[in-house]
Symmetry: C2
Subunit: 134 residues, 2 copies
DNA sequence: TCTTGAGTTCAAGTATACTTGAAGTGTTAC
DNA sequence: GTAACACTTCAAGTATACTTGAACTCAAGA
């Protein structure tokens, strides 16, 4: 069975080792083994968990709700409705968030074109562009 | 000229009035007028500014960088290169963020289908689905 | 007139998510 | 064998972005 040190995990997920210790402390990572010298040993179980945690975090789910999800996940049959409610809501929230960001991206791109137009006008000593004409 | 009270702004942007006062305190909102009774008066200038601020915030630009952007913006000719660098970088960051969220959304949707499959299996007393088969 | 509601300033407090420091142990490189 | 490095625990500190509380002013309605 493949195992991972804290440093390997840290490099794999581009997060400091302290964050991995913190996730364990707050119960997001569980069953983390130790060597004879008390060093943490992570397994593929933790890889799967970290993939889930980073996906949730990335899409803006607060730590408290990630904890809630994994608490439910300990007893799936007992909590299946709550689990489905949580992930379906988070799916909808994520879709909305992406749509909002896509429209914000258009706004940002408009700003980029606007200031590029101003730079061109400065360089050529011509009239500045108008926000609505660009 | 159309003006807005703090309450109207608060309702327009779905943020508490305290946040509008805070944005003014840290210099994100400037030239906010007052009535004879010291009540804030916002104008279309502030609407434009708030649209920019919410766009930047939404796409994850930290307040410190939003402040930086608007400090540059006070003297566009002097700072045009810095402004373009900032917005172009933020455009690229936003594109990356959207792409990451889109792939995270697939992960979330996989979870949704997985747990829906489990619920179906529980209801029908059949075998649970496998993560990789769904 | 009195109360309700909206606003004001200023300082202090809070929530979230880590991060850092201190003091120590064990393993590898020269 | 000793220095450098990686790791440990535990408590305390930090960064970001607001939020709340206290004490007050002003205008409108019953």
């Amino acid at each position: 069975m493949k195992t991972y040190t804290i440093k390997e995990m840290s490099e794999l997920y581009h997060i400091p080792a302290s964050t991995l210790r913190y996730y364990e402390e707050i119960g997001l990572l569980v069953n983390v083994g130790r060597t004879a010298n008390h060093q943490r040993i992570y397994t593929d179980e933790h890889i799967v968990r970290m993939d889930g945690i980073t996906c949730f975090k990335n899409t803006g789910l607060p730590i408290a709700q990630i904890q809630e999800f994994y608490r439910y996940e300990c007893d799936i049959p007992a909590n299946i409705d709550a689990i489905i409610a949580l992930v379906e809501k988070h799916e909808a929230d994520t879709v909305r968030q992406i749509e909002k960001m896509q429209s914000d991206l258009l706004h940002i791109r408009h700003k980029v074109r606007f200031y590029q137009g101003i730079k061109k006008a400065i360089d050529n000593q011509t009239q500045w562009p108008d926000w609505n004409e660009i």
